[in-house]
Symmetry: C2
């Protein structure tokens, strides 16, 4: 085996263990908080040495930022079926349904990574909070774009303020997420699904 091949394999192994660490970190964060994913705690969770983890991440903040990125990738993959729906109103509903589904299937054991991250870090300025805020802004832009498309197609009333409508949809998503978890009741997610549909049907 050439030196080059060995090096390539070593790098691929490194990538895989980095992925494994970040996946565990994203899951852990929804149970114990993003501040709970210290290098020491995570080393226990994935069965690696602290020094092994330090080889991947230079600081707790680097680890947390990489975790937000991984969570974003996981969420985007979960939302992908929603993106396959026809653009406009149907896509908004499909994206919301994909969101409720990933909460219900506990893709992250503690519900939406970004909702719990926002609740935890909203009063703690810094790069990690900013990364979460940026993810929400991108999500809002995506939904607002779909609202405008739906308005152009006459599916949603032209008088609706897209920012206001997306704010309301997000309230239904974060509300369903937190009450599903707090009351351990899937009925809360059904209420969310119903509310999204009715809000869009009753667009004024």
């Amino acid at each position: 085996m050439s030196v080059e091949t060995t090096e390539r394999r070593r790098r691929a192994d490194g990538e895989r263990s980095r992925e494994k660490i970040l996946q565990a970190a994203a899951e852990l964060a929804t149970l114990e908080g993003i501040n709970g994913i210290s290098i020491g705690r995570l080393a226990d969770a994935v069965g690696m040495s602290k020094s092994g983890l330090y080889a991947h991440f230079r600081s707790k903040e680097e680890l947390q930022l990489a975790t937000v990125e991984t969570a974003s990738r996981i969420l985007n993959a979960e939302l992908e079926p929603g993106m396959q729906a026809p653009e406009g109103k149907q896509r908004i509903i499909a994206l919301c349904d994909a969101f409720f589904s990933h909460v219900q299937r506990r893709v992250f054991p503690g519900g939406c990574f970004f909702a719990s991250g926002a609740a935890e870090l909203s009063t703690q300025p810094g790069r990690v909070r900013d990364a979460i805020a940026t993810s929400y802004r991108e999500w809002n832009e995506l939904l607002e774009g779909e609202v405008r498309t739906a308005q152009a197609a006459g599916e949603i009333a032209a008088s609706e303020d897209p920012g206001q409508l997306v704010f309301e949809l997000n309230g239904l998503l974060v509300g369903a997420n937190v009450f599903f978890l707090l009351f351990d009741d899937e009925g809360e997610l059904d209420r969310g699904r119903r509310a999204v549909r009715e809000r869009l049907e009753n667009s004024h």
Copy 2:
């Protein structure tokens, strides 16, 4: 000064310092989490010795439960102006407005105590989580009662499911709270106020 008077004063002082500790704990909890209010951390915050705090609370759990109780008392006092509004639809709007106002004035520096507490503890079964869930159930019952009163008075359509409507209102409250904090933008609270009104106007 009689022994009895001295004893009474000592007790009154104890009550006052207990109140002071719990007020600080409720505020701190919205910044650093309910799990962040350990006796050691709180002793630093109020400038007391750890042993002084142990005299008031036998365990971290007792302290946390007393903190939830204090937060509930603070929130109820904040909602009191809403309770003065005529029952039914007007009272629902006034209660929601009182909620938005207490978030905006940062009565708790990290927004709604119960929203952040629910987000933090929803996946951590125990007495503290149960106390938060109970507070939400009481709030839901209060609002559902007002919805029924409004329905009886013809202010809200009889076809509305009160549980569904209250779920939607709560989504607007928790959404406005978290996005106000995350984006540091009072416009999110205005969106919440507008959404509550429109939801009740468009009752179907």
